[in-house]
Amino acid sequence: MLVMMALAAGMFAVAPWMIDAAPYEATMGLVYKIYFFHMPSAWMFLTAAVVAGVASFRLLFLKRPRADHWVTAAAELAVLFGAFTLVTGPLWARKAWGVWWVWDARLTSSLMLFMIFVAYTLLRKYGGPGSDKLGAGLALFGMANVPFIYVSVNYWRTFHPPTSVVPTLPVEMGIPLWYCVTAFTLLFVILLRLRARLEHQRARVEALYLAEDEA
């Protein structure tokens, strides 16, 4: 774990240089380099959503109560990386297309999925006892919904599917990109494990507290 953290810290420290070394893109200049953080962040967002969905399945159908810790951790990370993605996206879009927001398939789908996880957070916070199971139901439905959200948003604007918004990347840009993806993945795994462990500990403290005055 410590090794991972050291490695991740190191990678993030070096990242600015790697990104700097990548060539400038013709039309956009410097700002496009936000992409190197935006895309890995988007992937981690989706990964978090999938982890939350899988853990929800284990909680509800395999009856593993500890899976709830992973759902909580993954959902929180989905909100975190989702927010990051949704902020860096418009920053990029402003420079690339001159507007803050376009209703394109990917961005809008991400927004909807993000909303589902914000809803999860609100549910856990304000729903009262028993909301762990309810939240798991929500996360599971959210995960099942991803293809539907994507297809419907994709075909929503125009019936003919728009061309992809991701430009094809030359090799020199590929290296810093994959470097950042690796760094982000490490970060994600670390955060997930730490957060889940926090939940495990919290549950253990509660159990100890409850056992404390047993005769």
Partner: protein
């Protein structure tokens, strides 16, 4: 009739009987839906002419809003006197309870839509009669998808706190595909030259959504309702 179907039948019959005695949920939901249509029309009709495709949008927003209300209030009835607990106590198959409740909601929303769709046709000169059959399929499939998810969520939230605002918070993002498909499909039918192919595409998306989410809800109902 096998046991599952019997339970569904009796739950639907019970819900209908209860509703028919007072008609409270039906009449208030219907009036609310009409109000929503008018409210949105005031915002979206400019210079006496509606913006493009607004009729379709208003129809589906009205369905979503009134559907959420109807769901909340139907389950509020089960919370009063704790009858939901009695339902869960019975040896009846839990998914059958879900299907029974779902059919009741569909019936209720169907009646509301029977008023809404002609109203939209009237206010916006939309070709609801000419497009009656495809429209029926589209609205039916969309309502089913919306209600399938909504019934599960509303049932889940019966014992939760803040349940009245949590239902829309959970339901709306989840039913975005239904809204998009419904609006785009209906808009395609309302065009001066209706685009049947587009409408068909959206109808098939709705059908897929319905199948996936009804099945998912049937599986999830029992684990989610047991405390």
């Amino acid at each position: 009739m096998n046991a599952f179907a019997r339970i569904v039948w009796f739950v639907v019959k019970k819900d209908l009987t209860v509703e028919v005695r007072s008609l409270e949920i039906l009449s208030t939901t219907m009036f609310f839906a009409v109000t929503v249509v008018l409210m949105f029309s005031f915002g979206l009709v400019v210079d006496g002419r509606p913006l493009n495709d607004v009729a379709a949008a208003i129809l589906w927003v009205a369905i979503a809003f009134s559907g959420t209300l109807a769901l909340g209030r139907t389950f509020e009835r089960e919370r009063h006197n704790d009858t939901l607990r009695a339902l869960l106590l019975a040896p009846a198959d839990r998914p059958a309870l879900y299907v029974g409740k779902l059919l009741g909601i569909l019936l209720l929303l169907g009646l509301v839509e029977l008023v809404l769709v002609p109203l939209i046709g009237l206010l916006f000169n939309a070709p609801v009669i000419q497009q009656a059959v495809p429209l029926l399929l589209l609205v039916g499939a969309g309502t089913l998808g919306f209600a399938a998810v909504g019934t599960l969520f509303a049932a889940m939230l019966v014992r939760a706190r803040s349940r009245d605002v949590l239902l829309p918070i959970m339901l709306y993002p989840m039913t975005v595909p239904v809204m998009i498909a419904g609006v785009r499909g209906t808009a395609a039918l309302f065009q001066p030259t209706p685009d049947a192919a587009v409408a068909q595409f959206w109808l098939s998306l709705l059908a897929a959504f319905d199948v996936v989410f009804v099945v998912l809800a049937l599986w999830t109902f029992e684990p989610v309702m047991t405390d």
